[in-house]
Each structure stands twice: as C-alpha cells, then as structure tokens.
C-alpha cells in the first residue's frame, strides 16, 4: 500500500525526480524572465515563454504554513493520522512553494522556521523532505519573502 504515496513521475516532472535521486533540488526556471516555477508547467505563467529549463536551487526555505491533520484521509496501512502537512517557501523567490510533512515525534516546526531539503527513499523514488537546518544560512538576511 505504501506505493500509493509514491509520485507518478511523468515526462514533464522527470528532471525534478532525477535531481532528487542525486540529492539535489531542481525546479523549472524561465529563460526569458528568470522566474522560478513549481510544479512543472509547459510554459511560464508569468511571461508566457515556453523556454523553461530545470535549475538547481539551494533547498533552503522557511515554513510558510503548517497544519496538523487529524482526520484519516488515507487508509491506516498507508499513513496513520495525525501528522503535519506544511508548505515551504524557498529562499530563491517569494511564492516559490514546495510541500513537505512532519511526524508528531519529530521536533516541532512553526510558521517562519528555517528548514532545508533532505532526501528519503520512497519505493523507487527519492523524495525531498524539509528538516531543521544542519547548515548555516549563506547570508544574514535569511530566506526571502517571509511575509505576503
């Protein structure tokens, strides 16, 4: 049943998962307007250009929002509730979001906490998952775009 939680990789998303298997986080970047975007799209929603390429990003960000899910949306053998789901805003660009999760037994996280991507194996794929940082931030300003 765990395979229910494996991503169904497609042609557009394959570079994301191939990078993750190498321990790198990569998202699409627009050659025309230089904006990052995720999840993958056929064109840039900001400028309309179709010239997109995957680019590695730092993997550092902040917790944008977090919710403790109590309801058993998934069968217990797949995933037991409760657990946390969260949105991480990457430091490269305000509004560049990835999703992650958190178990109750792990150190708690709150909105505005710094996190960084680690990678765990899930079936045949490697999944980015955000944890408290083990490295120092590169600048004293910290991640961009803390407020909306």
């Amino acid at each position: 049943m765990m395979d229910l939680l494996e991503p169904a990789v497609d042609d557009m998303s394959r570079p994301f998962w191939e990078a993750a298997a190498r321990g790198k986080l990569a998202v699409q970047k627009c050659d025309s307007c230089a904006g990052y975007l995720h999840p993958p799209r056929a064109g840039c929603p900001q400028c309309g250009s179709a010239d997109l390429a995957f680019a590695e990003v730092s993997g550092r960000g902040i917790v944008h929002s977090i919710s403790r899910t109590e309801q058993a949306f998934l069968p217990a053998e797949v995933r037991k509730s409760p657990y946390y789901v969260m949105i991480v805003e990457l430091e490269e660009q305000p509004g560049l979001y990835l999703v992650s999760d958190r178990e109750l037994h792990e150190p708690s996280l709150a909105i505005a906490d710094r996190v960084e991507a680690h990678f765990i194996q899930r079936g045949t794929t490697w999944l980015p998952r955000f944890e408290l940082p083990t490295t120092q931030p590169t600048s004293s300003d910290g991640p961009a775009g803390g407020a909306e």
Binding site: E6, P7, V85
Partner: protein, 393 residues
C-alpha cells in the same frame, strides 16, 4: 461588462427539495422535486420552460457519474420530463452554479430562450467523507500526495493557518460567524440544522479535522437539490410582481500562484479581481448591499470574501464580525439562511435563492426589513467562483 443595453433577466421562482443525510430519496427524485417546486413558485408549468442550465459536477473524487443517482445533469433532466418548448441548454464543467446562472442570462439576452430553469443537485455518498483509498499522485498531486496532502480541506487549513498567523486572529473570533449562521438557520424551514442550536463552546469543542479547521468549520454534506427559474425581465414585469433582477455578475478569472495548494495571498488577489469586475460591471458598491450571501464551504472563506469584496480591509474581517455587522440587525446581515454550514452544502445555489428571497421580501421569519439589493458569491475565491448582484425593481 455592461448590461444596461440588454433586456436583462430576473429570478422569478425558487425551490428546494428536502435536504437529506443517509438519504431516503434518490438524487433524481430530489432533483425533480426541487425543479418542479421552482417552476410552480414562478406560476409556470414545465411546458413554459425553454432553457435548461446546470453545473453538475460532484464535489468529491470517485463519482461514478450515473445520471439520477450520483449526478443530475442535462441528460437526466431531458429523460425525466418532456420539455416541449425547450430550445437551449448549457452544462458547465467549471465555474460553479453562478456560471450556469450567468450563461442563462446570456442566453436570454441573446434571444436563445426566454425562461430558463437552473438547478444544482448534490449527492452525498455513504462512508467516511473525504477519505481516499487511492489518492491521485499524478500531475501536480505527485508533489503533494506523497506527503499526505490529499484533501482540499487541508489546502484550506494551510491558508487559514497563515491568516491566523499574519493577522493575529483567533479561532474564538470565528465562533461568532458559525453560531450566528446556526441561529439564522433556525428561521429557515429547509435548513438541515434548523433544530440544532449551537453555542460558542459547542463550536470551539468540535473535533479538529486539519488544524485550524474543525468539523464545524466545514459545510454540511447533504443529498438534495435547489433550483431557480430565470426569465427575461420584460416578460417578468408583465407576469411577476416580485422579481429579483440580476443586475451584476462576475466570474473568477485570475490564475492561482501555485497548483499545489491554496495560498492566503491568492484568496485576496484572486477574489479582489472578481470583485473589481463585479462592482465596475453593475455600478454598485459594497455600501449598496442590504444583505450578503457569501459562500462558506469552509468558514474562513467568509473572511476572504468580506475582505476581497471590500466590505472591510485586508485582515479586518474578524473585527468587522465582532462589531456586530453580520447579525440580522447589523449593517450587513450575512448568510441569513444559515449558509452551507447550517442549511447544508448546495454548492452556492442556496445562497442565490436566499438573495432572491431577501430582495423580493419572501424570506419569511428571517426577512431583513427593506432589503432590496444583495450580493452572492459561489465558491471560494480559489475555485472558479462566481458572483451575482440581485436587486428588486
């Protein structure tokens, strides 16, 4: 969008089926019940109807799409009744029920029909609502499902958590919205929770689903249908003394900033774009509204609409509520029928019907004195939502 050069259209009849949980009646039976009630309320017979429109989509995954069983679209209606004068129909796949109403207005203005029946039927499946034995994990969901983010409820929870954080609001403030709506439902004979009073403590102790959304922040899944009859305004002036003219409308046009989940920023920017289109199209302003019937699939959606429509500033909705504005005696009586939280989830047509009743003086015990104009929203700002302004002559 200017409608002044058109004959215009008005809601001239409304009808509900009974609203059921653990349904005794089939969706088809309830749909027929609501539609015939609306036609009869307009003083018409089915042979007077020459247009049909609906938005039939199931609000959950896994619908088998069986007509009259778990959906009731155009095919159901064509096979259920003879419609000898029928010459136009529309079945929308996006845009919620407001878009079906708007299509009917367009058809009437274009001369494609004169009297249209618009309905919304909702099936309530048995079992634990919103559980997924096999969640989608392809497309955008490949980036969410592996983490257990599988439900639109969790999307709303994440946006609401951000709202509480940014604006320093509390769940206690929302109690006033939810208990006021429950109190309003006591004066609505079709509301599912009409006989179920709710206290602030009762709200605050309800089971958490995905923090900060509890069970009573979620609309109530029911099986049922509601319908309206929309007629050309110049016909309606001849035949109906109490018509709710559709004087403004707008659809949600803006893209979301991410396909992964809902964000708080989008609730405002996307909702504001719809609001600008609505108010500029009809030449009216929030201060002209005598009631507001705002979509409440989840309770925070009410905050988002109050702010996006301009009834108060961004982050000010909890204060707007605590000042007493939304009560039946306040400055902006809100969801005077109980909303989807207390009437039951009719996906917005319940809101449309309440606005029509209020502006035509047909809201019974819950009538707001001298109400002439009302705004309606269907859907959250983050869905393909729509909005209407109804006004009596």
């Amino acid at each position: 969008m200017t409608m002044s050069s058109q004959p215009g259209a008005a809601i001239v009849g409304v009808g509900h089926s009974s609203l059921q949980r653990g349904a005794q009646d089939s969706l088809g039976a309830l749909t027929a019940q609501a539609c015939m009630a609306a036609v009869s309320d307009a003083g018409l017979k089915p042979e007077d109807i020459d247009g049909l429109a609906t938005y039939p989509k199931a609000p959950y995954s896994g619908s088998a799409g069986v007509q009259g069983s778990d959906v009731a679209g155009i095919d159901f209606m064509l096979s259920r009744f003879p419609w000898p004068r029928l010459r136009w129909f529309a079945e929308l796949q996006t845009g919620m029920i407001a878009s079906a109403v708007i299509e009917a207005v367009h058809a009437i203005n274009a001369g494609a029909c004169e009297v249209a029946l618009v309905w919304r039927a909702l099936h309530n499946p048995t079992g634990n609502y919103g559980s997924y034995t096999a969640p989608s994990r392809s497309g955008d969901a490949q980036f969410t499902a592996p983490y257990g983010l599988v439900s639109i409820l969790q999307w709303h929870a994440l946006a609401y958590a951000r709202y509480l954080h940014e604006h320093g609001a509390s769940r206690e403030a929302m109690a006033e919205v939810v208990t006021q709506q429950r109190s309003n439902a006591a004066r609505n004979p079709v509301a599912y929770f009409r006989d179920k009073p709710l206290t602030k403590d009762g709200y605050l102790s309800s089971r958490m689903i995905s923090d900060p959304l509890s069970l009573l922040d979620c609309d109530l899944p029911i099986q049922g249908c509601a319908a309206v009859v929309i007629a050309r305004s110049d016909l309606s002036e001849r035949s109906w003394d109490r018509a709710a003219n559709i004087v403004g409308y707008a659809q949600n046009l803006a893209p979301l900033s991410t396909g992964l989940h809902y964000t708080l920023a989008d609730t405002f920017t996307v909702g504001r774009k719809l609001a600008d289109s609505l108010w500029s199209g009809c030449g009216l302003a929030p201060s002209d509204m005598d009631t507001a019937q705002l979509y409440d699939g989840f309770s925070p959606t009410i905050y988002y609409w109050l702010e996006a429509l301009g009834f108060c500033g961004r982050g000010e909705a909890p204060g707007f509520v605590s000042e007493g504005n939304i009560s039946p005696t306040g400055g902006l009586p809100l969801n005077t029928f109980g909303g989807s939280l207390s009437e039951g989830r009719l996906h917005g047509i319940g809101h449309v019907i309440e606005a029509a009743r209020q502006v035509t003086g047909r809201a019974g015990d819950r009538q707001i004195p001298d109400a002439r104009t009302s705004v309606v929203t269907t859907g959250s700002p983050l869905l393909r939502s729509g909005a209407l302004v109804l006004q009596s002559s």
